[in-house]
Symmetry: C7
Amino acid sequence: MQGQNQQQAYDRGITIFSPDGRLYQVEYAREAVKRGTASIGVRTPEGVVLVVDKRTRSPLLEGSSVEKLHKVDDHVGAASAGHVADARQLIDFARQQSQVERVRYDEPIGVRTLTKEVTDHIQQYTQVGGARPFGVALLVAGVEDGEPRLFETDPSGTSNEWKAVAIGSNRGDIQEFLEDEYETDLDVDGGIDLALRALNEGRDGALQGEGVGVAVVDAETGTYRELEAEESQSYIDDIEAVETDDEETEE
Amino acid sequence: MQGQNQQQAYDRGITIFSPDGRLYQVEYAREAVKRGTASIGVRTPEGVVLVVDKRTRSPLLEGSSVEKLHKVDDHVGAASAGHVADARQLIDFARQQSQVERVRYDEPIGVRTLTKEVTDHIQQYTQVGGARPFGVALLVAGVEDGEPRLFETDPSGTSNEWKAVAIGSNRGDIQEFLEDEYETDLDVDGGIDLALRALNEGRDGALQGEGVGVAVVDAETGTYRELEAEESQSYIDDIEAVETDDEETEE
Amino acid sequence: MQGQNQQQAYDRGITIFSPDGRLYQVEYAREAVKRGTASIGVRTPEGVVLVVDKRTRSPLLEGSSVEKLHKVDDHVGAASAGHVADARQLIDFARQQSQVERVRYDEPIGVRTLTKEVTDHIQQYTQVGGARPFGVALLVAGVEDGEPRLFETDPSGTSNEWKAVAIGSNRGDIQEFLEDEYETDLDVDGGIDLALRALNEGRDGALQGEGVGVAVVDAETGTYRELEAEESQSYIDDIEAVETDDEETEE
Amino acid sequence: MQGQNQQQAYDRGITIFSPDGRLYQVEYAREAVKRGTASIGVRTPEGVVLVVDKRTRSPLLEGSSVEKLHKVDDHVGAASAGHVADARQLIDFARQQSQVERVRYDEPIGVRTLTKEVTDHIQQYTQVGGARPFGVALLVAGVEDGEPRLFETDPSGTSNEWKAVAIGSNRGDIQEFLEDEYETDLDVDGGIDLALRALNEGRDGALQGEGVGVAVVDAETGTYRELEAEESQSYIDDIEAVETDDEETEE
Amino acid sequence: MQGQNQQQAYDRGITIFSPDGRLYQVEYAREAVKRGTASIGVRTPEGVVLVVDKRTRSPLLEGSSVEKLHKVDDHVGAASAGHVADARQLIDFARQQSQVERVRYDEPIGVRTLTKEVTDHIQQYTQVGGARPFGVALLVAGVEDGEPRLFETDPSGTSNEWKAVAIGSNRGDIQEFLEDEYETDLDVDGGIDLALRALNEGRDGALQGEGVGVAVVDAETGTYRELEAEESQSYIDDIEAVETDDEETEE
Amino acid sequence: MQGQNQQQAYDRGITIFSPDGRLYQVEYAREAVKRGTASIGVRTPEGVVLVVDKRTRSPLLEGSSVEKLHKVDDHVGAASAGHVADARQLIDFARQQSQVERVRYDEPIGVRTLTKEVTDHIQQYTQVGGARPFGVALLVAGVEDGEPRLFETDPSGTSNEWKAVAIGSNRGDIQEFLEDEYETDLDVDGGIDLALRALNEGRDGALQGEGVGVAVVDAETGTYRELEAEESQSYIDDIEAVETDDEETEE
Amino acid sequence: MQGQNQQQAYDRGITIFSPDGRLYQVEYAREAVKRGTASIGVRTPEGVVLVVDKRTRSPLLEGSSVEKLHKVDDHVGAASAGHVADARQLIDFARQQSQVERVRYDEPIGVRTLTKEVTDHIQQYTQVGGARPFGVALLVAGVEDGEPRLFETDPSGTSNEWKAVAIGSNRGDIQEFLEDEYETDLDVDGGIDLALRALNEGRDGALQGEGVGVAVVDAETGTYRELEAEESQSYIDDIEAVETDDEETEE
């Protein structure tokens, strides 16, 4: 009880420090991320894979309108988890930064630079009063000088680069799965396969092409592409075939 | 009790996160939507249908002045549920965006683009202090490149595209009815019929032309049109005829 | 007790939503309207009638200075109930809008358009912080394209069009009386008669020309006119004559 | 107790409505008016009389520096009750409005128009945050088109026109006295006499020329004039002579 | 207890009215004045005398740096009591107003006009939020058209003109002494003598030239002058001589 | 308990008065000064001496980086006690004022004028909201027209001139020592000696050149100079020699 | 309990003083620094060494993206501990200041000057409302006029120069180790060795090249350089070899 009252005292008004040096509003914004369905990124030498959970709450909802995968520029895409409308703001911001860079320097923005611009923007909302932090995390995937890059942004404005990472619901389980199964010499197909299996691990229902979004930023072409539902389904079918085999083998 | 006190602590002042990552002011704004009478949208290949509950609390009130159906542009209409004056602000904003687009590009605004502009506007009121969120949801119906589109906006600034959807009072029951009865090959008449029956399901009193508003955005002509009370009544009469038949058959 | 405490938690600072989606400050502003003496509007095919309760608290007070009836433009008048100084602000705003319209388009402002401008202004005070809502309701009566129109504005910024309506003290009883007695084919005299009898119903003291204000917007001439005290008294005398007759008849 | 706690909850921060639709800060500002010594206005066909209580708390204080009577323009004066420094702000504002009118239209400002300007200014401080209401009431006395006018402003921004009225300490008793004794055909001398006797009624100590301020706006000349202490004293002497007679007669 | 809690509820944030119409922050600012050492003004036909208590808390403190007497303009001086740094702000403001007047009209500012400017400035800090009231009172002494004038300003922004007045610590006792001893036909020497004796009455320690400041605005020359410590001491010596005589006489 | 609760009620938000007329935030800022190590100023006819306690909390810390002595201009220096970063802001402000004066009038700023500029700056932070007071006191030492001057500024914005004064930790004891030992005809060496002995009195550890800073503004040359550690040490050695003698003598 | 409640009362809203003169928000920001992994700086005559703890929480995280070492300018680097996104803001600010200096004066910024600019920026966030303090400490290492300099900044805006210093987690233990082992005549290799051993002391896991970042600002070349992971590992290997020897020797 005591601890709870004490906590309540530091989490209102503008974002301020608690006695133990934490920013509660930022931590609560991280909870908002956890409330969102999962998004997974896997980096391979051939490109970066983004896989998102798009299950809809009604069969009448158009899955294509669930905003979890976003093209930021020709060579950069992003997956989000958390507060949907907040994500859209950050994606818009990222797109503007990309365009500014193209206009100013006549070349594509670096993935790291872009991520830094976005996280600087996020940080402002954690320090200056009059607004709440963004309740969303992003995976920023792109190709920079021919190299695949995968960054994560969190509500504190911190960014990290990953080989493979999950955000959103069940992050813990999925990340553990990725750590167990990730191999550095995956090809893109292997990356998609790994990400889909990881997503399956983190949710109880079976995968379906409609309820999953897959995107790839290809290292060679340097372009972002979202897969059609049928393409996704064929990857899922492969997984299930293997799992069925496994199960049979287990017997 | 404990839970209740805890909840109260996070829902005042500017919109901030609760410890479990929720935005209470946004959730309360959703309650404001539920307090409004229902509006229903049904998308058919031939066009999008909007049906609204316009029952008035006094026979002396002019039903035509109940602001639930709004023409946004020649090819776009909207139905609202929730705080009436808030809805008017969003509709005004949407009309301005449409006009700006026409002036700037000399062509009608896309339905998806328009919805995004509106939801970006809504999102600002959930993050920046000094104002409360909008207590209203909208159904944005229109035709884009000959295709009927139906979007929903909610107080968080999220938008979704639907085949058929309800907002406002009794959303749960109506949506369930829509999910049971919706067919993808409906014509406009079938869409109006479905929406009226869904509305009837969600309210206890019998339908009447005066107490119901119906609008259609026709795919072919690409224009928004509100039906006269007599037109609406003829659709209602058909429904009642069928239901009476059904009841008789049931016996 | 619990309910009361809970309510208190959501009605201070800027106008925010309560957990059940209500805007308490707006509802309290409606209470401010109820604290004002009644105003009644009756629409007839020949014109719109406004009747207001102007009883003064001291015989030394000049009844003419009680601000309840307001000329907005040649063809539009308004009656108010609630916070007197707030009403004056809204009337001033309405007059400015009328003048702007005349200057810009060289024609009288539409009654519906004018009402919308006023309610948009009211809505701002319910959403943006730093000010309280307006504690006043208006009846806006006018003629538009030869048609009599009667609108009501409330503190939420909602407007409705009415055949006959009451605002302020005893609204409930008066409105019920109007619903029972209203007929669509009233002439202006009949409208004044109905409004005065409705006002009499809603207050305990007997009517007197001094304590009542009557105005008419005539459909044919399209002009707003306030009746002199003697004119009002003659209408009152007629009513009393009839009522005395009725009473005698009842015996 | 309960009622008291509830009241306390609605009277801080910016001026907001209480659940029963009242503006407590405005009501408290009215209490500030009651804490001030009384001011009385009496309108006669020949001109308007203002009488103020100027008793000082020390014989070393210069009575002339007690700011209760104010010349606003040649043809308008004002008497105040309540917060002295607030009154000075409103008087300054009124003087500026008068000058602006003279510069713009080359004619004296109307008394009603002037009062409206002042009360609009007052109203702003009751609705917009960041400042408290004015804790003062004014009697605005003047001549307009040869007609004597007497207006009262209160802290809510409401104005009323009066035949005779009191503000400040003991308003209730004095107003009652005025209602009993006022006659419409008073001359200016009779008006001064009535106001002084009313003031005497409302305070316990005997009147004295030094402790009373008297001003007259004459209908014929249309000019505001403050009486010298000796002139005031002669009026007081007359009253006392009469009262002594009365007392003797009573025996 | 109850009263105390109630009081606490109305004295924070911006300056607002309490239920009984008081401005607590202004009243507390008056307490800040009482915490300051006393300052006394005495007006005589020959000029205005200001006497201030400058006792220092350490022998190492330079008495000349105790800011209690201030030259405002050639013909105006001021004595302060209360918050020292606040006094300096008001004196700076007064000096600027004097200079502006000289530049604009090429003549010395009137003492009453100057005082009004200062009190208008003070009033703003009692009504508009975002700052606290000034915790200081001033005695403004000067010569206007050959006439000596003595005004007092208080933290509410009220000004009064006095024959003789005290501000600061022990105001009550000193003012009572002044009321008993003041004579209208004092010369400047008599005024200094009266003020010093009054100061002696209000404090327990014996007077000393170092611990007292004396200034005079001479009616004839119209100039402000501060006395040297020795001059002050000679006045003090005279008083003590008389008092010793009195004591001997009393025996 | 009661007193404590009462106190807590008046010390938050913007700086406001307590019921007894105190500014708690200013008083707490004075506590911040007391938390700083001591600084001492001694004025002699030959110049002003500043001595500061620079003991560091780690042998790895460069003593020279402890900001307690500051050159403000050629002829002015300052010593600070309290919040280090706040001191730096005030010193920067003082330096700017000095430069502005030089640029504008082509002559060194007066020490009193400079101190006034600084204290006016400090006062603003005690009256206007949105910032806290400065938690630092300064000793401003300089030469003006050949005269040594020594001023103290405190967090309220008050300034005082001193013969000798201490700020910071153990101010009481050190000031008492200075009052006992100060002589008006000290030379600079004597002033340094006095200040070092006073500092020794106020702290328990023995003096050391590294842990002490000494600066002098020489009256003749009119320049500020900080002593090297060895110079300081030689003064300390002299003191210790004397004290050892004293002790021996005491036996 | 009492103490805890009292503390809670002074640490919210804008940064204000507690009754004992402390700034709690600044102290809590220092706790945020302690929550960060450690960074260590060691100054030697040959250059300044920065060593940071970069252990990552997942093997899939790219260690190179952990932002703890930052190049500020050719001749200046910085290590941070605490809130990562805050650190990035300060580093960006420092880089801008460096560039401004180069553009304006065509020479590298002084390390002390740069540190002062950064700490002035930090101080603003501790005094002016509307934002929280920076939750980060920096070690600023550089070469100025051929001299190695090492400064620390803390959340209060204080800076200190050090021979060797630690910030972040386990500061106490590491600093103690540095105080025991530091020698003034270390070469760069010795400095790296000392810093790594100190870091090892402060954390329980064994050092690894991947989990440690090392940078050097060389006095001779005046340039900042970050070591590759293999270089770091070779230093670690040396330490472990020695420690193993030591352990063996101990037996």
